[in-house]
């Protein structure tokens, strides 16, 4: 009971002392909050980017496309953010798809867009890959029929029956296919993956629009009057696609298939997992730098706690001694200092947690459309618990020395200096 009583007295003295130096207290709390918020935000963003890239991966083990940068191949055909490396003969793709090591192969023909949403020529294997279900209308079957991803439908306001003309290239400004228009037959249910922001059409649409049988992929900006457009008479053997998305029949394929394909002259095989690991490696350097900065801020904040408490101690040396004279046991005096560190630590961490999450939520809202990465602030990363614990421990640790000095407040001087 007396322990509780002492703790209450220590707490009273601590809060009084914090209030008496309100400006310094708030500054220290703010500094700690900034550091914690930054770490939390980085944590949330990188976790969500990784989760997001996993969802967009959709279990694709390998992408086969034209030779060039493997990262570019992955970014363009899995994440739909970069220009494709080029096209490959459909005959070659068919040969790869028929290999026994391949469980599923989905062709992609890329290069056109509508209001910055990419138009993807593919087959129904694409639906299985991304778990796409028809939410409205019916699945597009014939050339120039189109399915809208959930977000495309929401943004453009189009519904089954609507017509639109695609643009060459992936931006609004490129020349349009004004002579030919797509008809929307259906809308996919949302998946949370990149497929929500795609327009899906049968492969034949692309060949229909590009009589050369060559999707415009890899040669943007594409202009009409291109030499290829004049020989309208090429046959199916000369058809080209942009990429082939592959799922392995067995894990063993990972060891052989990419090597076999890359050994051939015309095709390139790249693994999304490997390329993303490489990419996050690059990003990681930036994230690590920011994280180090944030850690530095937290350390600075702890030093702030230390110097604020030490300064307060120096200022309050007389007070502490008076307390001891009045009968305050060493423990009370010590607790009154520790509690100050704890209050600053808790306030800073709670404020930091809140503002970190809020910042990510705001960032997500700012980056939302149309190439949104779906960032949200109201999720928790497991590592946050560590951030909280470490920041609290540092604030408390910083108050240990001042608290010890308070504990050691010398009584031998007694009344002499009072």
């Amino acid at each position: 009971m007396s322990l509780l009583h002492d703790a209450a007295t220590g707490w009273l003295l601590a809060t009084a002392s914090l209030r008496a130096r309100l400006a310094a207290t708030l500054l220290t709390v703010a500094l700690l909050a900034v550091g914690v918020a930054l770490i939390i935000a980085l944590l949330l963003v990188s976790r969500q980017l990784e989760a997001k890239s996993e969802r967009d991966n959709a279990g694709i083990d390998l992408v086969v496309g034209a030779k060039g940068s493997p990262l570019q191949l992955i970014l363009s055909s899995v994440y739909h953010v970069d220009i494709p490396t080029g096209n490959i003969p459909q005959a070659d793709a068919t040969r790869v798809a028929a290999l026994p090591m391949v469980r599923r192969a989905v062709p992609l023909a890329l290069g056109d867009s509508y209001r910055r949403f990419r138009i993807v020529g593919t087959d129904t294997g694409f639906d299985a890959l991304y778990g796409l279900r028809v939410a409205a209308g019916t699945r597009a079957q014939r050339p120039m029929e189109a399915m809208l991803g959930a977000e495309v439908a929401r943004t453009t306001g189009m519904a089954p029956g609507a017509r639109f003309a695609g643009n060459h290239g992936l931006s609004d400004s490129a020349a349009g296919h004004t002579e030919e228009s797509f008809i929307v037959t259906g809308v996919f249910a949302p998946t949370g993956s990149v497929a929500d922001r795609l327009i899906v059409t049968p492969l034949d649409s692309v060949w229909h629009l590009h009589p050369s049988k060559v999707p415009p992929a890899g040669r943007e900006p594409h202009a009409h009057g291109d030499a290829n457009h004049d020989d309208a008479d090429q046959d199916a053997a000369q058809r080209k696609i942009t990429a082939l998305l592959i799922q392995y029949a067995s894990p063993l394929a990972a060891a052989r298939l990419p090597r076999e394909i890359n050994a051939g002259s015309a095709l390139q095989a790249a693994s999304p997992a490997a390329e993303m690991t490489r990419l996050f490696g690059f990003l990681g350097i930036g994230i690590d730098t920011l994280r180090a900065l944030a850690a530095l801020i937290v350390v600075l904040a702890s030093l702030g706690v230390f110097s604020a408490l030490s300064a307060a101690m120096a200022e309050r040396r007389g007070d502490l001694q008076l307390l001891r004279v009045l009968g305050a046991p060493r423990g009370v005096v010590c607790v009154s200092v520790l509690a100050q560190g704890a209050v600053i630590g808790l306030a800073g961490v709670i404020l930091g947690l809140l503002s970190g999450h809020l910042a990510v939520e705001a960032l997500g809202a700012g980056l939302a459309r149309p190439q949104g990465i779906g960032l949200g602030g109201w999720t928790w990363a497991a590592d946050e618990a560590w951030v909280v614990l470490v920041a609290l421990a540092m604030a408390l640790g910083a108050s240990l020395m001042p608290a010890w000095r308070a504990y050691r407040t010398n009584l031998s001087a007694g009344l002499a200096e009072l």
């Binding site: 009273l12 008076l322 004279v325 009968g327």
Partner: protein, 215 residues
């Protein structure tokens, strides 16, 4: 049973000479005592020993027949908090606590529940009723000293130790403060032991212990 009994006590700072020759002092309840001596004669040192803030290098101090040296430090802290009140020369109040909280602090340190009504009644009695919510920095030195007196009384101690309570005051205030101290101590049933070099107040005490000072 005497309130305070010191026998043959002596103190040394840092293995120097004895501060004063071995001395005896008995304070009965109600026997207000003045320790008188020039600056440096060891008055504060003696008060420290009587309060249990330091232990004598020789001899023994007993408070209500309890040897202070036989208690451990935290027990002496408790005893001081419970049974003694302090009025000091300069630093009167905890700067971060307001007037009422400064007074209530003595009750907390005495291990009893804070009683704001009693604190305010004491303040009113000392003419400080309107200052209850002020911070110490907003008080004059004299007001702060009277708040300290309220704090020294609030937990109904049996002994009030005052170190140089009047040295900074002119004659009129000196007389006023010393009568206030004695009167309030008597009203609360406490005995006053004061140390001073200020011979003006000698007449108010029933017992005077003179410290010679060094040659």
């Amino acid at each position: 049973m005497p309130l305070l009994a010191a026998s043959r006590i002596g103190a040394r700072h840092d293995a120097q000479d004895w501060v004063f020759p071995p001395l005896d002092l008995v304070v009965e309840p109600g026997q207000n005592t003045l320790i008188l001596g020039p600056s440096g004669s060891g008055k504060t040192t003696l008060l420290n020993l009587l309060a249990g803030l330091a232990l004598p290098a020789q001899g023994e101090v007993r408070f209500r027949d309890q040897s202070l040296a036989a208690l451990d430090e935290s027990a002496r802290d408790r005893l001081r908090g419970r049974h003694m009140g302090f009025v000091l020369q300069r630093l009167h109040l905890i700067a971060s606590l307001n007037v009422v909280d400064n007074i209530l602090l003595a009750q907390r340190l005495a291990g009893s529940a804070p009683d704001p009504a009693r604190a305010r009644a004491l303040l009113a009695r000392l003419g400080l009723g309107v200052h209850a919510e002020r911070m110490p920095a907003q008080l004059s030195q004299g007001e702060a000293q009277r708040v300290a007196l309220a704090r020294a009384l609030v937990h109904r101690p049996s002994l009030i130790l005052a170190d140089e309570p009047t040295s900074a005051l002119d004659d009129a205030n000196c007389a006023a403060v010393i009568s206030l101290l004695l009167e309030q101590a008597a009203a609360e049933g406490a005995t006053l032991v004061a140390a001073t070099h200020d011979a003006r107040i000698k007449a108010h005490f029933s017992q005077v212990l003179s410290l010679p000072g060094r040659a």
